[in-house]
Symmetry: C2
Subunit: 144 residues, 2 copies
């Protein structure tokens, strides 16, 4: 029961980060996604956005960060994630990733609403995650 | 109509990559997700997996790559992605990301089944993407 009691509906956490050109280039290098909408100024200038946009999955990485670092934090594991990409993230945008517990499914499963919001308070990414919280160890978090 | 005729049910593409320790550390740095299941050998040794695992969203980045580079390729945009994490990806695993058109919703929307499969033919990530294919420009792809 102890694991269960540690989590309550409405608990939320946030992390904020400015997306840099370096982030986008490094992400392209790690994943191999060199889609020119992300890395070519010339190509991107002709798109609907008029400039390069960050990879959607890079923005989703900030959700992974808030889940993995804050709620529920170190030791947790992903079961699933849905992602609706609602607007572009441009280089220099300040993105706040937010996770909120919307269901305590069991001691071993939490459902979180996950969103990324830009500096203009526009939701650029929305979705839900199901995660396995860290195992309690001798009455403590596994990471303590 | 032209854009529509370019895509057919069952069209598929793949990309394969070995996940390295550097990929995991760089992804942790970019996103801020330093969950010790990904970056601490000592912590990870005590988990069910016995060793560090890659960030799930890093593996999802390989799906982004196959979509952004191959099917439909440069210029395409994400609408949504679902991700079910079915098994761990460990450092050194060789991951094949696969995308297959399962529905041509309209000239401007394709539904893809998206999977990541390891070197033992285990599906480690499964899901679906909805994407906007590149706009045809003067009868050609925008990227040509």
């Amino acid at each position: 029961m102890q694991g269960n009691l540690m989590y309550t509906l409405g608990q939320a956490a946030e992390m904020t980060k400015i997306i840099t050109e370096e982030d986008v280039f490094l992400f392209a290098g790690i994943t191999g996604d060199r889609n020119p909408v992300h890395i070519s100024k010339e190509f991107a200038a002709k798109t609907r956005f008029g400039e390069r946009i960050a990879h959607g999955i890079l923005t989703a990485g900030l959700i992974s960060a808030v889940i993995g670092m804050k709620l529920p934090g170190p030791g947790c594991l992903y079961v699933s994630q849905t992602l609706q990409f609602l607007g572009p993230v441009k280089i220099g945008d300040e993105i706040t990733a937010r996770a909120e517990i919307v269901e305590v499914i069991s001691e071993k499963r939490l459902r979180l609403r996950t969103q990324c919001i830009n500096q203009r308070k526009e939701t650029v990414l929305d979705g839900e995650a199901i995660i396995v919280p860290p195992r309690p160890v001798r009455g403590k978090q596994a990471n303590s």
